[in-house]
């Protein structure tokens, strides 16, 4: 039985439609991330699941049971807040034992529970401290232990890492997934950070403007996105405008603005259709033939350089070269760029234009 099901959920705040007829199923034991830009409705959805918001329309089912009329405190879930929300007047230990305490568990049981989960998040030595004495990452770990201590099987995480430093985020997100999987929980994690989503999730649901764009595993969304918005939002990509010139099984030719052509392996459109080819920078490489482009500038990325060039078709193309090879290229240089035909994904040309279709705000 699926752990969480959202059926036709709509949420309206006055004239604003925060969620628009959303259907979503999350299976038992799945780690699902709802990913999208600010204002897409992801936080609204997670609050509806928790019961903090009552949907304007639609049903929420948890464990097969309809949650209509069921207040927050009876939904048996753990919730981790973006702004952490540790009770400032309780020590870490009393924060963690709060869940067991309000369920009227015995004192010994409360203490054991606290110990178990604080050990899991490696905060046992900070048990008697107050939240204000901990740093950001420690606070969020304590908040996680508190949510887990309810022994709930469903964990909701509302942008749990957004308030933390970049470095701390990287360390903590591995911990999150490790702990969730070890305890066999179902997790619904909301974030705007696609890197975070890819590293913690079994499945990612991409949202935009109140609706679901698509859903899939991190690999699926990265290598074979079904929507042009996803291709640009999950990871970076080059978008080239053109028309289908030739179509054949395993090999199609797309003609770009300046009549130069690129070859792609998979193309589900007919000859003459207006399309956009999406290919990621790591699948574009300098070659003896291909798109004639002029290098505009370089960006240092640590172990590689990201080179930005303008193709003769007026498309901007980015590709990567290893750090050591950086000196082989210079701005103004003209080179040929080849794309990996297997990695290219072809989309229909959006009516509103590419810029509008991939807009991040």
């Amino acid at each position: 039985m699926p752990q969480v099901e959202l059926r036709n959920i709509t949420m309206r705040f006055g004239k604003v439609v925060a969620a628009d007829e959303v259907d979503l199923i999350i299976a038992d034991g799945e780690y699902v991330t709802i990913l999208g830009p600010s204002g897409c409705g992801k936080t609204t959805l997670i609050r509806i699941i928790a019961g903090i918001l009552e949907p304007t329309q639609g049903e929420v089912l948890i464990g097969g049971k309809n949650m209509k009329g069921v207040p927050i405190e009876e939904r048996d879930l753990g919730y981790v807040f973006q702004n952490i929300a540790l009770f400032p007047h309780f020590t870490v230990q009393r924060n963690v034992t709060y869940g067991p305490m309000v369920k009227d568990r015995g004192k010994d049981e409360q203490r054991q529970t606290a110990q178990k989960y604080l050990e899991l998040v490696k905060l046992l030595d900070k048990m008697q401290m107050f939240p204000s004495e901990l740093c950001g990452g420690e606070q969020q770990k304590a908040s996680l232990a508190r949510a887990l201590a309810t022994d709930a099987k469903l964990l909701l995480l509302d942008e749990p890492l957004s308030a933390l430093d970049a470095r701390v985020r990287v360390d903590l997100r591995y911990e999150l997934r490790r702990i969730v999987k070890r305890l066999g929980l179902t997790a619904v994690h909301v974030t705007h950070d696609q890197e975070e989503a890819m590293s913690v999730s079994d499945r990612i649901v991409v949202m935009r403007a109140g609706g679901i764009v698509e859903s899939g595993t991190p690999q699926q969304l990265y290598t074979r996105p079904k929507d042009i918005f996803t291709s640009n939002f999950v990871g970076e990509t080059n978008l080239l405008e053109g028309w289908v010139k030739e179509r054949a099984e395993g090999r199609s030719v797309i003609e770009l603005r300046d009549e130069s052509t690129i070859v792609v392996e998979q193309c589900d459109f007919d000859e003459g259709d207006a399309v956009v080819v999406s290919v990621r920078p790591e699948f574009v490489f300098p070659f003896t033939d291909g798109l004639l482009s002029k290098i505009e500038y370089f960006t240092y990325m640590g172990t590689y350089w990201r080179v930005t060039a303008e193709a003769q078709s007026e498309d901007m193309v980015e590709f990567d070269v290893p750090a050591a090879e950086g000196k082989l290229y210079h701005p103004g240089q003209e080179i040929y760029l080849m794309i990996n035909r297997k990695a290219a994904v072809v989309f229909p040309r959006p009516k509103e234009g590419i810029a509008e279709a991939v807009k991040l705000e």
């Binding site: 207040p71 807040f81 929300a85 400032p88």
Partner: protein, 547 residues
């Protein structure tokens, strides 16, 4: 450079800023703090007078202890009632959304519009059995005990203070904590009890202090109520006792003694309250899941809300405005002396106007200094001192001020006017400073700092960036000071009983049993204050929307 640029340059220079601030602080200490507590020194300078005239007079001592006992008991009971009934109301104001909330918001402040002398009269004719000279029988005629009546009266003007203080704190507590508690399985009541209320403590102390001090101070309404309640002779609160002695020459030792007692006891009690509230162990370890769950849902919360609103309407609002029915149902035996009344009104306006201007000119810089000086010694000390004139009962303040500035007891019209101005300045100054300090502390200093790095001098940063953000609070402080001064009786009587302010005029009318004229005068004052309040609400609402 134009003259405006020159002036800006001058005012921005560090020396000028420091100089003006120094002047403000010296003025504050010399004209407000020291005169307010000056009476305490009487203990040392005239102890023998006190011993002879007061301590050795058993009749006086009995009267004094009885009056002080009444004042403190009433204040305590009123504060407790205000808290118990005010807390659910604060919750409704801050957490609930419904149409008509603005209206509720306005209603809660309404009793503040009515001068306390009028409230006294209104309360008596609503609740109590009036003396035969008051020709009126449209009230409930339930209460004949002066103690109970005064409690009911004091609730009228202290309830808004409590609700506002509690709302302010509740508004600052992030609701996420409560929500977090509920996601952990706590019912609403449990979450509120164990999480939100403990976070309330700091604001609770403020609410208690304001309520208590206000009740201790109140003179005009209490006097009017006692004068018109049948069978209340001999009952006194400390302020009315002072008022009585003020009309008897040679009473300085008694007046000083009562004032000293009032000040010392009030300060001690309030420090004790602050300590107790901070250290008090709330029962947050004990949970009763099942009963708390039942109370959190369905019938119980609705009952709580209905009771709060019913209390507001029937115990606070209706009694406050019942005076209108007097004017409608009664007739006058004498013609209203409009010219004397309007003169007294002009006098009150003059006083209120002057003190408001001075409060603005000096209170705002002091508030800025305190708000932006957190963590430094002098601002912290000033922050505490500013509250002193608020806590000291205004009658005692009046006595003390009178002794400081006018030990000889001269009573020319000019001297009386100046004394009244100084007295009213003392207890309105904290209102202005607290309002502005609160508003400044709520604004992020980053705005002014950004403005300065964009090239704005401090005064330009204030004028263009901070001032628009706090202007509504400044205005609120000004109107609060103005209306407070308009309605004050106790301090005026204590410092210069012959000063012809509007409230004193009303009290004199009551003393002369000219109730109809008194009622009419009250209503005129109510209408004026109401107009001010509406204007204030209109302006603050516009500013809030802009933010």
């Amino acid at each position: 450079m134009s003259w405006l640029e020159k002036a800006t340059e001058l005012v921005s220079r560090k020396g000028f800023r420091k100089g003006w601030l120094g002047f403000v602080i010296v003025f504050f200490l010399l004209f407000i703090i020291i005169p307010t507590v000056f009476v305490l020194s009487y203990v040392f300078t005239n102890w023998s007078d006190i011993q002879n005239n007061v301590l050795n007079d058993p009749q006086a001592m009995n009267a004094i202890w009885a009056a002080i006992g009444n004042s403190f008991e009433i204040a305590a009971i009123v504060t407790v009632i205000d808290f118990v009934i005010g807390l659910p109301m604060a919750w409704i104001l801050v957490r609930k959304k419904f149409r008509g909330k603005q209206l509720l918001d306005t209603f809660i402040d309404m009793p503040l519009v009515v001068p306390t002398a009028a409230l006294g009269f209104s309360a008596v004719i609503f609740w109590g059995v009036t003396v035969p000279t008051v020709p009126y029988h449209w009230g409930l005629e339930l209460v004949s005990s002066p103690f109970i009546l005064i409690v009911l009266l004091h609730i009228l003007f202290s309830y808004p203070y409590m609700v506002r203080s509690l709302s302010a704190i509740l508004g600052e507590i992030d609701q996420t904590y409560e929500t977090a508690g509920r996601t952990l399985g706590a019912s609403k009541l449990t979450a509120v009890r164990t999480i939100t209320l403990p976070l309330f403590r700091a604001g609770l102390v403020t609410g208690i202090i304001l309520c208590f001090a206000r009740s201790l101070s109140e003179t005009g309404g209490t006097f009017v109520a006692l004068a018109t309640l049948s069978g209340s002779t001999g009952f006194n609160t400390a302020p009315t006792l002072i008022q009585y002695y003020k009309s008897i020459p040679g009473s300085q030792p008694v007046l000083a003694f009562i004032s000293i007692l009032l000040i010392v006891l009030a300060l001690v009690l309030l420090v004790a309250v602050a300590v107790i509230v901070k250290k008090m162990h709330l029962p947050i370890r004990k949970i009763w899941p099942r009963p708390e769950k039942v109370l959190s849902r369905g019938f119980a919360p609705k009952l709580k809300d209905v009771t709060s609103i019913a209390f507001l309407i029937f115990i606070v609002l209706i009694p406050s405005f019942w005076i209108f029915t007097f004017v409608v149902t009664s007739s006058s035996s004498q013609a209203m002396d409009w010219s004397t009344f309007l003169t007294s009104l002009a006098y009150s306006f003059a006083v209120a106007g002057i003190i408001t201007v001075v409060d603005l000119a000096l209170g705002v810089p002091l508030a800025l200094y305190i708000a932006r000086g957190r963590g430094k010694r002098l601002p912290e000390i000033l922050d505490v001192l500013v509250n002193v004139p608020l806590i000291v009962p205004t009658v005692a303040l009046g006595i003390s001020l009178g002794m400081f500035w006018n030990p000889g007891g001269e009573t020319t019209a000019a001297i009386s006017f100046v004394l009244v101005v100084l007295a009213h300045l003392a207890f309105t100054f904290p209102l202005m400073v607290r309002n502005v300090t609160g508003a400044v502390e709520e604004t992020d200093p980053v705005y002014e700092e950004t403005a300065r790095t964009l090239g704005a001098k401090p005064i330009q940063a204030f004028r263009r960036v901070l001032y628009p953000m706090i202007s509504s609070s400044i205005l609120a402080g000004a109107i609060m000071a103005f209306t407070r001064s308009l309605g004050e009786t106790g301090a005026t009587i204590a410092v210069a009983p012959d000063a012809n302010t509007a409230p004193i005029y009303i009290v004199n009318l009551i003393k002369a049993s000219d109730f109809y004229s008194a009622a009419v005068a009250c209503i005129v004052l109510i209408v004026i204050s109401f107009a001010f309040m509406l204007a204030l609400r209109r302006i603050t609402r516009k500013r809030r929307e802009a933010n």
